[in-house]
């Protein structure tokens, strides 16, 4: 039966996260963007919601709620509304936890999932993107070669959030033509973390380039063990999460520019009273809602165990364009003021521009 109503439980999660976004994230996000740091306190506070531990089964130490990509999409939108850098930082451990939960072998689940159920934030990350214009997650240049009881990983990665502090890293590499994940523990030999990246947006999120120089990991560290993993499914989870995040960023920009347009007077009336401005806002509202539901549907398909490739990739493609258009319109509505860093819309435009580049950088 078609329904657009979140469940009561989901609504409670939305309310909690939304309150956190308003009262905590929104107080700090500009400062974080300017100085490139996110205070540990805010990350710890978010950790207390159990956004990751919540859907890890009790036998691994989690709270044992059913893992739901739809719920994840709802959370992702609210967090990204608060701030994209913080949202990605908060959810970063899920880049390891959820693929292990979804595709890991029993041994991997038993060994690693409890790490994400502790009281303190557990820095963990994934390395998927590679520094070249024609990056393709299904045709990676980073390779994995089996050598005795070890896999040897070679290649270069970029946009790896929290790489320097991560205790666990899921590295994606090409093995026999297919993308597979490899669990790399902190300090593995041949893993060289590069300089912190300087990007147009996501400035508060610490991301890194890294090199894998014959990096050796035990054979049993391949995600899914003997069976390997269905990488496309993991990618689809990420597409749903990122689409929902794009909606969050777009909604932030839309709401701000709507308020501004009602307060800013020109020629004796609010600029919102002119159709040129009002219609931009209406179109933004329409596209934001449409994209949100596309993200939900893709997430719902994943929850149902369906192949979500078509809808998830269409949602992501649509969201990439939508968030750029909406954040750009928001800057435009503020005119010169939109270009000034006293207002947040330029930040949202910089962050929004990134979605088309972000592959696999969030998962719910």
């Amino acid at each position: 039966m078609i329904s657009f109503s979140p469940s009561e439980e989901q609504q409670m999660i939305i309310n909690t996260v939304s309150e956190f976004a308003v009262n905590e994230m929104r107080k700090l996000y500009r400062e974080c963007d300017e100085n490139g740091e996110i205070p540990a306190e805010i990350i710890d506070k978010a950790w207390e919601f159990g956004l990751i531990a919540g859907s890890i089964p009790e036998k691994y130490g989690g709270f044992g709620s059913e893992h739901s990509a739809v719920t994840g999409a709802l959370v992702a939108e609210e967090l990204a509304w608060g701030d994209l850098s913080m949202a990605m930082h908060i959810l970063c451990p899920a880049l390891v936890a959820f693929p292990i939960f979804e595709a890991g072998s029993e041994g991997q689940k038993g060994k690693y999932l409890p790490l994400f159920c502790g009281e303190r934030y557990k820095p963990a990350t994934a390395a998927l993107i590679e520094p070249r214009f024609n990056f393709d997650p299904n045709a990676l240049t980073t390779t994995a070669r089996l050598d005795g009881n070890e896999y040897v990983l070679s290649g270069e990665k970029c946009y790896v959030p929290l790489a320097a502090e991560a205790e666990l890293m899921l590295v994606y590499a090409c093995q026999n033509g297919a993308t597979q994940g490899f669990i790399v523990e902190n300090g593995a030999s041949g893993l060289e973390i590069g300089e912190r990246e300087k990007n147009m947006g996501l400035k508060a999120l610490a991301t890194y380039e890294l090199a894998l120089k014959e990096c050796r990991v035990p054979k049993e560290n391949r995600l899914g063990g003997e069976a390997g993993c269905d990488f496309n499914r993991i990618l689809n989870y990420s597409r749903a999460a990122l689409s929902a995040m794009a909606v969050g960023v777009a909604r932030a920009a839309y709401e701000y520019s709507l308020d501004y347009a009602k307060q800013r007077y020109a020629f004796g009336e609010p600029i919102a009273a002119r159709q040129t401005i009002a219609f931009m806002l209406a179109e933004m509202a329409i596209e934001i809602d449409a994209t949100r539901f596309m993200a939900w549907e893709a997430a719902w398909e994943l929850d149902k165990g369906k192949d979500a490739t078509k809808d998830a990739s269409l949602a992501k493609m649509y969201a990439d364009d939508m968030v750029l258009t909406v954040t750009d319109r928001a800057v435009q509505i503020l005119g010169g003021h939109g270009y000034i860093r006293d207002h947040p819309v330029e930040l949202w435009l910089r962050n929004g521009r990134g979605f088309v580049t972000f592959d696999g950088m969030a998962i719910v």
Partner: protein, 396 residues
């Protein structure tokens, strides 16, 4: 619980609707496009005998109706619109009539010969600006006397000639502006209501679009929908209630729009498939051909419009006010299918432009969805006012 599951009975209804549309509508679609104003009598008889062969199959299915409606219109938009039934006039009656009126006006649609319902709002001098309506209704004892001229009444001729109903919007007090605008039901065959002409259109040619003249047309006093009183000129409650008709019809028009878009998109994909052109979903942008990007863009826009439409219909079923969402759906769907069908003509090259195929027809048919039941611009204006909390005076 957020859910996108389509129940099995809807899937079955969808499949039947597609088969019926392909059997009944597709084969004669071109003929009635080329022979405008000829009546598809056989089809009409069949749809009257068995309404579930057409769009009416969708009734009572919940928000998933839109999938079934899409399938029907996918067969042909113009022919779908000439299916007998209460139509838009019926929607207005459902929204604002008394029980007695419903019985008196709607019963005819389930008995006797085929009948149609129509809505007559637009005039030569006003479309979306309904407050500017000049057709008058003057009370004379137990009757109203209507005078004026209405244009663009979908199924207007059929409604008049079949003994159906026409819901006519007229003013009872010009000085009262919007508060004076009231809907009246005129039964087909009432003296003083006549068909002046039929329009020649860009598309949906099988559907008649009529100019109706009202010359001292007398109807019973009880044929007014809603309150006859112009209580307070500043209050337009009655008017708003009638406008609520559009909250009901706009999502369905959006669904019909999607049907035409789906026809074109399916044809493009089938043609490509036969030629071995693959659409590789999930591949990175830089590896896709421009044709693949175009098709994905079409798909995504259709999906976006479908989601908004589904939400608007779902809210209606939940008894929630859906005026904003209905306009969002209508604005998005009307524009999306206009673009999708235009792109389909482009992508298919000479096959798209040729009248040997239906793609060029679908492009012409689809355009009406960006115009009727409120243009894309009027719907965008409604959305804008609602999100800003502005009145019509705040945002003109």
């Amino acid at each position: 619980m957020i859910d996108f599951e389509i129940p099995a009975e809807v899937e079955a209804a969808k499949k039947r609707a597609r088969e019926n549309a392909e059997r009944l509508l597709r084969p004669i679609a071109r003929y009635y496009d080329e022979n405008e104003h000829e009546s598809p009598d056989e089809l009409i008889k069949e749809l009257w005998r068995n309404p579930s062969l057409g769009m009416s199959a969708a009734m009572g299915l919940g928000p998933e109706v839109i999938f079934v409606m899409q399938e029907s219109v996918r067969g042909d938009a113009g022919l779908s619109l000439c299916a007998p039934g209460a139509g838009l006039g019926g929607a207005a009656i459902l929204v604002s009539a008394t029980k007695e009126q419903r019985e008196r006006f709607l019963k005819r649609f389930s008995e006797g010969e085929p009948k149609w319902g129509a809505m007559a709002i637009t005039e030569a001098g006003c479309g979306s600006d309904t407050a500017a309506i000049t057709t008058t209704a003057v009370r004379d004892g137990d009757e109203w006397v209507l005078n004026g001229e209405k244009i663009f009444a979908t199924a207007g001729k059929r409604a008049v000639e079949s003994g159906g109903v026409v819901v006519v919007w007229a003013t009872v007090d010009k000085s009262a502006g919007r508060a004076g605008i009231k809907p009246f039901v005129v039964e087909g065959g009432t003296p003083g209501m006549k068909v002046e002409k039929l329009e020649h259109k860009l598309g949906i040619r099988a559907s008649d679009t009529a100019t109706l003249i009202f010359e001292d047309c007398r109807i019973p006093y009880d044929n007014i929908l809603g309150s006859p009183e112009v209580i307070d000129k500043t209050k337009t409650t009655g008017f708003k209630k009638v406008m609520a008709t559009f909250d009901l019809t706009r999502p369905f028009v959006a669904a019909m729009a999607l049907g035409v878009g789906r026809a074109a998109l399916d044809f493009v994909k089938e043609t490509f498939d036969k030629e071995g052109v693959e659409i590789r979903y999930g591949w990175p942008r830089h590896k896709l051909s421009s044709v693949e990007r175009d098709v994905m863009d079409m798909e995504a826009n259709m999906k976006a419009a479908e989601m908004l439409t589904l939400r608007a219909v779902w809210m209606m079923g939940q008894g929630q006010r859906n005026d904003l969402q209905a306009s969002m759906a209508k604005a998005k769907a009307g524009l999306a299918v206009t673009k999708v069908t235009q792109k389909a003509v482009e992508l298919l090259g000479p096959l798209g432009y040729s009248r040997k195929n239906l793609v060029e027809k679908w492009m012409r048919d689809s355009k009406i969805n960006d115009i009727f039941e409120g243009t894309g611009q009027i719907n965008t204006l409604i959305v804008a006012r609602r999100i800003l909390g502005y009145t019509r005076d705040d945002l003109k």
